[in-house]
Amino acid sequence: MDEPMPLLEVTGLAAGYGRTRIVDGVDLCVQPGTWLGLLGANGSGKSTLLRAITGQIRLQAGRVLIGGIDLAEAPERAKQQFGYAVDGADLPEALTALQYLELVASIRGCAADAWPCGDLIGPLALQRWMHMRIGDCSLGTRMKISLAGALLDGPPLLILDESLNGLDPVASWRIRGILRELVEGGHHAVVLSTHMLETVATNCSDVVFLDGGAINHRWHATQLEAARNTAGGFEALVMQALLETRSAA
């Protein structure tokens, strides 16, 4: 049986700012039905990698294919394949939450409530914020609005850069449930960069550990499954990797 086309294929990626390389030699392959966790210390290059993958900074080397479409050759078509939850601070503060969702929907050519998992406003408790300026919303509410925008039209690949960090426990639980449901459906994949080991341990099917701008460790589904069977097993795996990296340095 043929393997499905990867939703994200990164080959030999190098990226940074100006002449400085922040990430170098990164290879990634994300299949549908995968939840990839991106771990790493502060400054390890997680956000830079995601910015390069989403076309916000120029690639210094390598190639990014999204749903088989080269981001460099057809950026608009490639961007149709993913939803990116932008940082709350980068949302347009002058618009209301509803206007923001209408803006995203108008670009994607769908309705402003076309989520792949049913209504999101109620589960994320966004009703009272819909007609308020984003600039007046809290960090958590902004993240909810950003996530709702990323999920509009149900793009196959969802890219979240520490997007679950500012959420309240209920919203975080609900959004993780929605993402898990989508991934288990087999047509979507999630790439999540986070420091929350518990989220990674309980949700991710693959994990990469980034250090000094390069992938230092990879754990696949079977290794993660084995680690989950022991109390604190995944945390021990990550800490061991971190300590090995530090002692090698």
Binding site: R58, A72, R77, K79, A94, L95, Q99, L103, I107
Partner: protein, 360 residues
């Protein structure tokens, strides 16, 4: 880097041109020297006051930044820091009027070049300090609470008139662009444009002359465009990670201001038709000039999307270069510079598009 070097070259070129023009007109200027000197001092005093006020406002804002506001910093100490900052900036700017004074007197071979330089520097600093220092005392808590960012967006009346254009994809981009900069299409500005247009129209009517009407239509239309256009969404990750092209985003931001600009042109150019139904050529020419001016400002706004002042400066310099060359070396030479600038416009558009798209 390229833009800075280009701007610097343009500045040097203009300074040299100005020096040559002054040298050519030296006998006339020397004959009118007392008046020229008084005029120069008046201009320097005005510029000093303007710079002082701007500098004080800027320094006060810095002193009231959120990260400083939470520190136990006394109001008197804050005001002192603002004063020191203003004095330091004034000191840095002071050589500029001195250099101008020396340059002018040297160009026209007037006596007392050192005196001209010193007196202009002293006048500038006096005006600067007079305008800046009282402003430093206003660094109060009230001002701190009244930061413009905290105000809810209230789109101006003129903007609301064309808000329906924002309904097309990508929706609300114009409103976003207006709100992000904290600016809005000021009713005051729009009102002044209407008054200017009305006066020109009245003049056209009374003189049976079409030019004032067309000129005011072009200038007013361009000002309306400049007042409405802001390019800040071009840098946002929201749009840069969305499946939308640079051209579409740009069109979405420009459609509201362009509609206002054309509306203004239509209203102000109408007297030209009323006065003489056959006078469609000046209006058509004016319409073409308006589109070119709007394109020129669009380029400046696209290349400096976060700074309106930089965009205005870039636009002003470009316009000045065309007019200066046209007036001094003839229309053909001005047109040549205009064509060269169109090439520069194309290059800058490409740069702005590359920054938006990153790839390709």
């Amino acid at each position: 880097m390229l833009l800075t070097a280009g701007g610097l070259l343009l500045l040097i070129y203009n300074a040299v041109s100005l020096y040559q023009a002054l040298a050519q007109a030296a006998p006339t200027i020397r004959a009118l020297w007392p008046r020229v000197a008084l005029g120069g001092i008046a201009v320097v005093l005005l510029v000093g006051i303007l710079c002082g006020r701007l500098c004080a406002r800027w320094a006060r804002r810095q002193a009231q930044a959120p990260w400083l506001a939470v520190l136990p910093w006394q109001a008197a100490a804050r005001a002192r820091a603002v004063r020191v900052a203003c004095l330091a900036i004034g000191g840095v700017l002071m050589p500029l009027p001195a250099f101008c004074g020396w340059g002018v007197s040297h160009a026209v071979a007037a006596s007392g070049q050192a005196w001209a330089a010193t007196s202009l520097a002293v006048c500038f600093m006096l005006a600067f300090v007079t305008a800046a220092l009282p402003g430093a005392h206003h660094a109060s808590e009230e001002e701190q609470l009244a930061q413009p960012d905290a105000r809810p967006l209230k789109p101006a009346l003129a903007w609301r008139l064309v808000a329906w254009l924002d309904q097309w994809a990508p929706r609300w981009t114009g409103l976003w662009a207006q709100g992000d900069s904290g600016g809005k299409l000021s009713v005051w500005w729009f009102g002044s444009l209407v008054i200017a247009g009305g006066s020109a129209a009245a003049l056209s009517q009374s003189q049976s002359w079409t030019s004032p009407s067309v000129i005011s239509a072009v200038i007013g239309g361009n000002l309306a465009y400049i007042a409405g256009l802001r390019g800040s969404p071009l840098l946002s990750p929201v749009l840069r990670t969305s499946p939308v092209s640079f051209a579409v985003v740009w069109a979405a931001m420009a459609r509201g201001p362009l509609a206002l600009s054309l509306l203004w042109f239509g209203i102000a150019a109408l007297p030209a038709f009323v006065v003489s139904l056959g006078a469609w050529r000046p209006s058509l020419g004016g319409f073409g000039v308006l589109l070119l001016l709007n394109l020129l400002y669009s380029t400046a706004a696209a290349i400096t999307p976060t700074s309106r002042r930089q965009a205005l400066l870039m636009y002003g310099f470009a316009l000045y270069a065309i007019l200066y060359q046209g007036v001094h070396y003839g229309v053909a030479y001005g047109a040549l510079v205009g064509v060269a600038e169109l090439g520069l416009v194309a290059f800058l558009w490409r740069r702005a598009r590359q920054r938006f798209r990153v790839h390709g």
